[in-house]
């Protein structure tokens, strides 16, 4: 059984266009100790998926309208707020895109890590502080004892993200959700953070759900991949299978359109943009942008099928894409 199992999750939001379905039957699984990458463009539902796992969908306007999020068998969508507080941080931790806005600007970073430890573990203040310093040292912050007394604004972006990671692993969670953790960082710092995440996974055995739009990051980090589009998973499988033999035209487009350092020349394009959720019709959400589209694609929505390397595309399923 998977450590984290998301089953047919449906999340709706009340908007001025009426209720829109942000997640429409999303199923994902994350096994202990592995890295699952969730890929897609802005607005495809990657972050909403992560927030639903943490029980952080604000309601209203959001609502979990169906499905389940099971952590080691326990359905978190029906858990009490007290139970969720115990889960967050201790069992499932999260790091965000912009470390500056996710740290408290008026507390030292050492205090913030100690606070997380004190919430979940039976310890004295000074023990928690000692452990916070040890964690800062562990994530590669030089002279950790002195830096622990710094405020977030005194640290660089990369250092702040290291603090976030130290805080996230402080209670030895089973699952770490990293939502675009390096988007705000320079490329050399991004490489350091990726290396650090891998190290944390090796040392603490944490399973990582990496949310990203960068197929290069997927290649370096992921064991398995789920590609999302307009609130659904449209392809999923082992990283090698998806990267080397993508079946969905959208996945192929995403791989082809990355400006790579390995070659020059013109890039593949995916024409158009992701359709607004309130304008989705009955057919495949990608039909308007798809080069292979046929009449049937606009009439019914393809379901995710195909075992270990599954795809939601009539063409791929019937062999004409």
């Amino acid at each position: 059984m998977s450590l984290l199992q998301i089953d047919q999750l449906r999340v709706t939001f009340q908007t001025r266009h009426g209720a829109v379905t942000a997640l429409d039957g999303v199923s994902l699984s994350l096994n202990a100790g592995e890295t699952l990458a969730v890929v897609g463009e802005s607005g495809c539902g990657k972050s909403i998926t992560a927030l639903s796992v943490m029980g952080l969908i604000s309601s209203p306007p959001g609502r979990i309208a169906g499905g389940a999020v099971r952590l080691a068998g326990e359905d978190l969508t029906h858990a009490s707020e007290a139970r969720l507080r115990a889960v967050r941080g201790a069992e499932v931790a999260m790091i965000f895109q912009e470390p500056m806005t996710s740290l408290n600007p008026v507390l030292t970073v050492g205090d913030q890590i100690a606070e997380a430890i004190l919430l979940h573990q039976d310890m004295t203040r000074s023990e928690a502080w000692t452990q916070a310093v040890a964690l800062l040292d562990r994530v590669g912050i030089p002279s950790a004892a002195a830096r622990a007394k710094d405020y977030p604004h005194q640290l660089s972006g990369g250092m702040r993200q290291r603090v976030m990671i130290a805080m996230a692993v402080s209670c030895r969670p089973k699952v770490l959700i990293a939502d675009e953790p390096t988007t705000a960082l320079d490329v050399t710092v991004q490489a350091q953070i990726f290396d650090l995440l891998n190290e944390m996974q090796r040392d603490f055995g944490v399973a990582i759900m990496l949310i990203t739009h960068d197929m290069g990051a997927v290649s370096e980090m992921a064991d398995r991949v789920a590609v999302m589009y307009a609130g659904r998973v449209i392809e999923s499988g082992a990283a090698d299978d998806v990267l080397d033999a993508a079946r969905h035209p959208y996945t192929r487009g995403l791989i082809g359109c990355i400006p790579s350092v390995d070659h020059g020349g013109a890039l593949a394009e995916i024409p158009g943009v992701v359709p607004p959720l309130h304008l989705l019709g009955a057919g495949c959400a990608f039909a308007e942008r798809c080069a292979h589209v046929r009449e049937g694609c606009r009439l019914a929505r393809p379901e995710l099928q195909g075992g270990a390397h599954s795809v939601a595309c009539f063409g791929a399923q019937e062999g004409w894409v």
Partner: protein
């Protein structure tokens, strides 16, 4: 032929006095940068945040005051022009910005936004300007009936197309592109990069293209300059730079850029992650600015600043290769 020749450009920012009556410290943002942009060619400037790439470009086109240096544009030193003369030159040099959300007037119709530079410069008759705007819309892949809409009615990629149309309106010879795709989704990035490549070929435009992303630069530029702490550390034709990077910093940047060829499944291990952060531009080290982070650094590197040497492929390093 050389369109723009920049020689020994320096930009300094005064910092607050550390105590009353103390001398004002100076931050040296650009420390003696020289490069050429040839007619119809694209020069990419890459570097991490704080390397001085944007300041260099802004000083070269006089949107930022330079401390010293020379910027010859078609033989005229731009730094010596008075305001009226510079204004007349502006039609040859146009700019597109990173953020298409904040760089378009939210209260103006996009047709008027593209038309404004023509009105300001008094290009042609009223009807000729109207025809030119329609022509520009077609060139950047927008429809004529979209001219009456406002910026908020467009997606990020379409807004960047509007910015490009506005920049092209006066018929410039040089387009300064400051991170033109870093605010866009991956699939949209490819559309804009291909558009920029096509316009360059069609209109014989030269680009000064600023980016932190080596992959993006590889797809658009003919030549690349790598900046570190206010100086160019390596400059080469694009193919040469990617095939045979000589400076350890360039090599580290390339090693850090995520790539589809590196697979977790095949036990990918990054050869070299840069340690630490760049030195402070308010107190640059006496020798090579990169020495403190460089795996090859020797005593000479800490004492003697290396000069940018070589023909065609230039590198500023005591131990290149």
């Amino acid at each position: 032929m050389s369109l723009m020749q920049v020689r020994d450009l320096r930009v300094e920012f005064p910092l607050p006095r550390p105590r009353p009556f103390a001398p004002r410290p100076v931050l040296q943002a650009v420390r003696g940068v020289s490069f050429d942009v040839a007619e119809g060619r694209a020069l990419g400037i890459v570097g991490e945040s704080g390397s001085g790439k944007t300041t260099t470009a802004m000083a070269a086109i006089r949107l930022q005051e330079a401390a010293s240096g020379q910027v010859l544009f078609e033989g005229t030193d731009l730094l010596g022009l008075d305001a009226a003369q510079m204004r007349a030159r502006r039609r040859d040099i146009q700019l597109i910005f990173q953020d298409p959300y904040s760089s378009l007037n939210p209260r103006a119709r996009v047709g008027d936004i593209v038309r404004e530079p023509l009105d300001l410069l008094g290009v042609g008759s009223v009807s000729e300007r109207g025809a030119r705007v329609r022509d520009l819309f077609a060139k950047v892949g927008l429809r004529e009936d979209q001219m009456a809409l406002f910026p908020h009615q467009f997606s990020g990629g379409q807004r960047q197309r509007i910015s490009i149309a506005r920049a092209l309106a006066p018929g410039p010879k040089l387009l300064v592109c400051d991170e033109p795709v870093s605010a866009l989704d991956v699939a949209i990035q490819a559309q804009i990069l291909n558009l920029l490549a096509r316009l360059k070929a069609e209109l014989g435009l030269a680009y000064l293209f600023i980016s932190h992303d080596l992959g993006v630069v590889r797809h658009v530029c003919d030549e690349v300059a790598v900046m570190y702490l206010g100086q160019i550390v390596e400059r080469a034709p694009v193919g040469d730079l990617f095939a045979r990077a000589q400076h350890p910093y360039t090599q580290a940047l390339l090693a850090a850029a995520p790539s589809l060829g590196r697979r977790r499944s095949r036990g990918f291990k990054r050869p070299l992650s840069l340690r630490g952060d760049p030195a402070s531009p308010s107190a640059p080290p006496p020798g090579c600015a990169f020495a403190a982070r460089c795996p090859k650094a020797a005593a000479v590197c800490r004492d003697v600043p290396p000069a940018l040497d070589g023909a065609g492929h230039q590198v500023a390093c005591h131990f290149p290769g």
